[in-house]
């Protein structure tokens, strides 16, 4: 077929705009009949053109593909025009911790997760399965043949990750925790960052500034310091 660069970029924009699921490079290249390298270059250009300040929408790499989203800073304006708000994904801290263990140790069995968390996780696992954030991944060939779990595509999408490798390494969390502790000398930690954050939305929405701050923090991976809050 061979499209001009301008046509290719326009076709990519149209496709990503319309697609239900994140569109992968391979899918896009094969549907448009173009070389992957050419498509990748056009995608980079498309992503860059949406990144500019004057755009309210962006094209992001998520769950191994590309997908269009509104930018977080416009959430207040956008929310008013959405009648059918999707139910928020409400996860408890135990559920998030279990998810974190699976994300880093996958594939992991129930007993392995329990060992790390120090408590029984079966109930949480069922919740995560039902919310489709984790999936089963066969069985481990040890006594009892326990079921293995790994995170799903839904997990990547719900947490805005293009791949689990995108998560900071566990080592970084250790270093951050130590730093946070050092910086915090003399201040008793009465409330961890999470509950402070959670309090912002018991039904209401966190303010714009908070979302932006969280966005910035998450982007730089600097968030892990739990104990540095308050």
């Amino acid at each position: 077929m061979s499209l001009t660069p301008v046509e290719l970029k326009a076709a990519l924009e149209a496709t990503i705009y319309a697609a239900d699921e994140p569109a992968t490079l391979e899918q896009l290249a094969s549907a448009l009949g173009e070389e992957k390298s050419v498509v990748r270059a056009a995608l980079d250009e498309l992503v860059a053109s949406y990144a500019s300040e004057e755009r309210g929408v962006e094209v992001r790499a998520v769950a191994g593909g590309y997908k269009m989203y509104t930018k977080p800073q416009h959430h207040e304006a956008v929310r008013r025009f959405i009648k059918s708000l999707r139910p928020p994904l409400r996860l408890t801290m135990p559920a998030l911790e279990t998810l974190a263990v699976i994300a880093y140790k996958q594939p992991a069995t129930g007993p392995e997760i329990q060992e790390i968390r120090g408590v029984n996780c079966a109930g949480v696992l069922k919740t995560l399965l039902e919310k489709r954030l984790i999936v089963t991944a066969g069985r481990k060939e040890v006594i009892g043949r326990p079921i293995l779990y790994r995170t799903s595509k839904e997990f990547l999408m719900r947490f805005g990750l293009s791949d689990v490798d995108e998560l900071p390494s566990l080592k970084e969390f250790e270093a951050l925790a130590r730093e946070a502790l050092g910086a915090d000398e003399g201040v008793a930690v009465t409330e961890p960052a999470a509950s402070a954050l959670q309090k912002t939305s018991p039904g209401g929405q966190p303010g714009d500034a908070e979302v932006k701050a969280a966005a910035a923090a998450a982007a730089t991976g600097e968030t892990a310091g739990t104990n540095s809050a308050s």
Binding site: H75, E97, I116, E174, A194, A218
Partner: protein, 267 residues
């Protein structure tokens, strides 16, 4: 009503959370935990829970035992025969677990923040180009749906059984038919006691017992018991399909008069 004294007691999901909190709040060095002090504080917390009449889970109690063990090991003089490298700190395992646990707690915080951001952005695929793709009444299914649905089907089957068993009069043939249905539907056989208990009357129970005996005789089922005094489970046996294909059961069951005689004997 308010209690006579103020109770403010923090709650922890598990023993590791409690320990980490004690360590962090008091700015202890996680790699050099004052084990006697921590053990004391840990036990004090459990006692508070007990005073409030709160069930302390096994996880917490197991950790208490672990702490006490470590504490007593710390009191022992070091092994004079072991070199300095061989002297393992009795706390090492616990420290490792705590450090690991904390890393994942921090990772969970990051996930929480990332997820918060995603709650504030929207994606709107252009559905107009998908029209006609989805048939009415279809749902996207996953493995979890598969097992959940199977469970529901079996539950529904049990309900049907209950209704069927609430008739007043049974014949052995009917009861065998009922057992056959349950054997086909059940995951791993039929639990004998449960089956008898589901019978609405003594008469029904006797008929059920005769039906089981008859099926064993015909080698349609086999009774298994995994351990002494364990539960007796009824399972399909080699002649199951033969006995139950095309009225085989009808032919070989005792006739009504014989049954009535048995019933009379019991009355």
């Amino acid at each position: 009503m308010a209690t006579p004294y103020k109770i403010q007691i923090p709650m922890y999901e598990g023993p590791l959370d409690l320990l980490l909190d004690l360590i962090r709040k008091q700015e202890m060095d996680i790699h050099n935990i004052p084990i006697a002090k921590i053990t004391g504080q840990y036990l004090e917390y459990l006692h508070k829970l007990e005073a409030l009449d709160i069930d302390v889970s096994a996880d917490f109690i197991y950790m208490a035992a672990t702490l006490i063990l470590i504490k007593s090991k710390m009191l022992l003089p070091p092994d004079p025969l072991a070199g300095p490298e061989e002297q393992e700190d009795p706390r090492a395992d616990l420290v490792h677990r705590l450090v690991e646990h904390e890393k994942f707690k921090n990772a969970a915080q990051l996930l929480y923040q990332k997820q918060q951001i995603e709650e504030h952005v929207w994606s709107r695929p252009d559905r107009s180009l998908y029209e006609g793709e989805e048939a009415e009444g279809e749902i996207t299914v996953s493995l979890v749906d598969l097992i959940k649905v199977f469970q529901e089907v079996l539950e529904r089957r049990k309900e049907v059984t209950k209704i069927a068993l609430s008739h007043d009069q049974f014949t052995v043939a009917q009861m065998m038919e009922e057992l056959r249905k349950q054997l086909i539907a059940g995951e791993d056989g039929v639990r004998l006691v449960a089956f008898f208990e589901a019978c609405p009357s003594r008469h029904a129970m006797i008929v059920a017992f005769l039906a089981v005996l008859e099926m064993v005789r015909l080698q349609a089922v086999v009774l298994t018991q995994e351990q002494l005094f364990g539960e007796i489970v009824l399972r399909k046996h080699k002649m199951f399909d033969v006995v139950f294909s095309g009225g085989g059961a009808e032919r070989s069951v005792p006739d009504e008069t014989a049954l009535n005689k048995i019933d009379e004997q019991y009355q």
